[in-house]
Amino acid sequence: MASNETHQKIDSNGQPDSQLTEDTIMTVDKLGMKFGQKTVFQGLTFTLKRGEFLSVLGENGIGKTTLIRILLQQLRPTAGEVSFLPSRSQVTIGYVPQFRNVDTEYPLTVKDFVGLALHDHLTPWWSKHEKQRLNQVLHETDLTRIAHIPLGRVSGGELQKAYLAQALIRQPQLLILDESTASLDNNMKFELLDLVKQYQQHTQAAVIFVTHDLPLTKKYSTNFLLMQPGPYQLGTIDQLNETVLEAAHA
């Protein structure tokens, strides 16, 4: 069980959290990224624990997506390292992006799209157990009603729910939401994050939520990482106040 109490605030000049506990799922140590001569960020150090909901804030272009791509091992950092505990192969990561290559003619149904993530078996058809898991996750994400509608014809909110369902079907220990609520209306934003919170409460998964949305951050997060030019800021959500945000924009 993660707790805010054990999470120490660390700034970019500070030391890495030395209190690795059995709840720790990921450590980021002195992480840096440069594209050519341009430094995107450097010295980024933090730990992520099970049950923690970390919001990653910051202006466009500050390196939030770069950080996520490093965590997903799609980019190699130029400095520092990311470690998963007990190991990368034992941590399943679910990823929910803002956009995907889905247009109005995308043919697969919601159910078939979600089921794509069941890729471990060799048989072309789903096993009984896989069908049960698929139906369960569709039910949990409130998609059963539209399960047989082509994904290209559902609303933006339902699309995001389908992305979430696909990420959840493999029961990830780490769920990354990359601006997943950015294109949704207000009600749908809360509905989507309620589903995430429900999943988190059942599984103690860690969540990383990249966003610009402060009301959502304050309602759902346990911690925040504010990326900004100069030293970044990291803390518990009650430490995220106007002073911190003003300093970030100064």
Binding site: R100, A117, L118, H148
Partner: protein, 265 residues
């Protein structure tokens, strides 16, 4: 009609080609590789002409050229910004080479016509056996990577996060596609291969909404096109590829209309 051995061979080879095209075509369409398939058909033409030039069978030359170049073309066109230019340049080179090899091999015009447009009467019992072996190889490869290929083709972003190695999978698929192109060329000819590899699957996606059902329907559309095309060609003495093209285009337009109708409702 079916009393003639050449028609029996044509129907047997056509059936195998339709099945392979239906399966592979669904992934071609999902991976937006229709244009690449078109280019592979031109490379197939160059390969067949090369086969004639060096004294091999056209199929052997096609297999060599399409297999090697499919991977090269796939890698060259991995960046969307240069995809069209890369594919167009290789396509131009292939057609040029095809014409050169035909010219050097001193083959008559009917050889070129057969390669480009296919020939029903050119299919021997041995050709059917070759097509059967190649078709089986393609189906086995696709089935071995089916779930990963399905994920990568219909949701590349999700597949990457799930740890599926996209490059390896792309190479496996491109080689399977090259084999399919070489197989399909036996009936419809190298210029019109993309008909069977893209149109049945493009039409199927408007009627079916699961990968399995899309494959089933694409096979059905391809089978109807090939069988009906062969029969009409026999009765009218017109080219079989003309009929297959018309039938598959018809399926596609019916699909478009059906999609517009269902989307409105």
């Amino acid at each position: 009609m079916l009393n003639y051995p050449f028609m029996q061979n044509a129907f047997a080879a056509g059936t195998l080609i339709a099945i392979v095209s239906g399966i592979v075509g669904v992934f071609v369409v999902a991976r937006n590789m229709s244009f690449l398939t078109h280019t592979l058909s031109e490379i197939g033409f160059a390969g067949a002409a090369f086969g004639l030039f060096v004294g091999w069978t056209p199929l052997a030359g096609m297999l060599l050229f399409t297999s090697v170049s499919s991977v090269a073309v796939g890698q060259l066109s991995s960046k969307a910004s240069r995809r069209e230019a890369a594919i167009t340049s290789i396509s131009a080179l292939a057609i040029g080479l095809g014409i050169l090899f035909l010219s050097l091999s001193n083959q008559n015009a009917s050889s070129a016509t057969n390669i480009l447009f296919g020939s029903v009467i050119g299919i021997s019992r041995t050709s059917v056996l070759q097509v059967a072996i190649l078709a089986l190889a393609v189906i086995v490869v696709i089935m071995a990577v089916y779930r990963s290929l399905k994920f990568d083709s219909f949701d590349a972003v999700g597949a990457r996060v799930a740890g599926i190695h996209g490059t390896t999978l792309a190479i496996i698929f491109l080689v399977a596609l090259a084999f399919s192109v070489s197989v399909a060329a036996q009936i419809v000819g190298s210029l019109l291969i993309f008909i069977l590899l893209t149109l049945p699957a493009s039409a199927a996606k408007y009627f079916a909404h699961g990968v399995g059902s899309m494959i089933g329907l694409a096979i059905l559309f391809a089978l109807i096109g090939v069988w009906l095309g062969l029969a009409l060609s026999y009765w009218t003495n017109w080219p079989v590829s003309f009929f297959i093209a018309v039938i598959e285009v018809l399926f596609y337009f019916i699909g478009l209309i059906f999609n517009r109708f269902t989307a409105r409702n």
